[in-house]
């Protein structure tokens, strides 16, 4: 699993620093380290990144790393966390965009105030991402449409998606 991601179907409420989760079948309580792991599973960090974020500043780094990795495994075993790279995308709340006549996309991200004008290639990625495709599916669709090298397209899509996630215009979902 390269980028762990919370599954979308989970209802969650935070109460005094701990999380109450409902996956539709079972209730789960995440407190202490488990709550920190849950907060860090955002679909942008890879597994090592999650462990590193939670363990940052821990006095016993080895023990903390082992503990956090174990919690992450338990979240995966409970089917609360999955592989973010298999996830899909949706625009973040408040993000707006317009399309020009030539297919270009301009974005405005609510909150940060970020405004972007996407290149034609990035615009195509955006359109496919918000249509509900996963990363690999976007690359495949572009390959079918343009005939360009699949590896090159895969790298391009990954880079664009990462930038759109970083600016807060997209979020990964299941």
């Amino acid at each position: 699993m390269s980028r762990p991601l919370v599954r979308r179907r989970c209802e969650q409420r935070e109460l005094a620093g701990a999380f109450l989760l409902d996956d539709g079948v079972n209730l789960h309580l995440l407190d202490g380290v488990a709550a920190e792991v849950w907060r860090s599973v955002d679909g942008r960090r890879d597994r090592d990144g999650v462990v590193g974020a939670v363990c940052d500043g821990a006095p016993d780094l080895v023990a903390a790393t082992r503990e956090v990795a174990a919690f992450l495994d338990r979240l995966v075993d409970a089917d609360l966390v999955g592989d973010g790279d298999a996830g899909r995308f949706e625009p973040t709340a408040g993000t707006g965009w317009v399309e020009s006549d030539d297919g270009g996309v301009a974005l405005a991200v609510y909150g940060s105030g970020e405004r972007l004008v996407l290149s034609p290639g990035a615009s195509a990625v955006w359109e496919l991402a918000v249509s509900g495709l996963a990363e690999a599916e976007i690359a495949s669709a572009l390959h079918s449409e343009t005939g360009a090298d699949a590896h090159v397209l895969g790298d391009l899509v990954a880079q664009v998606v990462l930038e759109l996630l970083d600016v807060g215009a997209l979020r990964r979902v299941w």
Binding site: E11, Q12, R13, L15, G17, L20, D22, L29
Partner: protein, 238 residues
Amino acid sequence: MFRAVLADWDGTPAASRRVEVAPGDCSDHAFHVGLSIAVSRLNLVVTASASPGLMLHAGAAARPDGAAVVLCGESGSGKSTLTAGLVARGWYYVTDEITWIDPVTTELRAYRKPLSLKIGSQPLFPALAPVARDGGSVSGVANWTVAVDRLEHAAPPTGSLHPVALVFPTYRAGAGVSLEPMGPAEAAWRAGTQSSRLRDLEEPVVDVLARVARRAPAWQLVHDDHARALDLLEELAA
């Protein structure tokens, strides 16, 4: 041999719900065992027929102003024993098995079924022992089924029943008595795992549980000293 009669649950005042048992031709011992079974079946019917709400596996008792202590836990945790103990100290009996909580207001609805006392707690309440039809004693009944009118004669609270403490008891021999605060997330989770028909709630389960946990402070009670545990519970509601 036994006939349980249950009035409609929805909106029905507690006083009009009752179980009628036709004892038939049986021994007093068989009668009391059968009564216990009938009440257990009745609980299932009540659980299935109640309107959507948070249905905690919990006992509850209330002060005259309606402030209620809710005792939530698994079978054997001491719910009924502690509920009976509070009632013996003058609290109003709400229930010893199913506490129905309004998902919006978090007010309680009483389900004043006959109280069940398991064999381990019976020595604490000798006056509640089963009585034979001729007025004599009945021995060897593992689960006493105590009619509400034998519990107490306190008048119903004047105000609505509302939880002021959500307590999760654990009976542990030799552990003494300890009462520790519990965070709202753990309380909500534990309440949820001790609830029936959660999926029938009209809003997200986590919202209802969180609302209850925010409004009533929660406590973990470990006990093996009945009187001391009751002292602590009374202090919680004071």
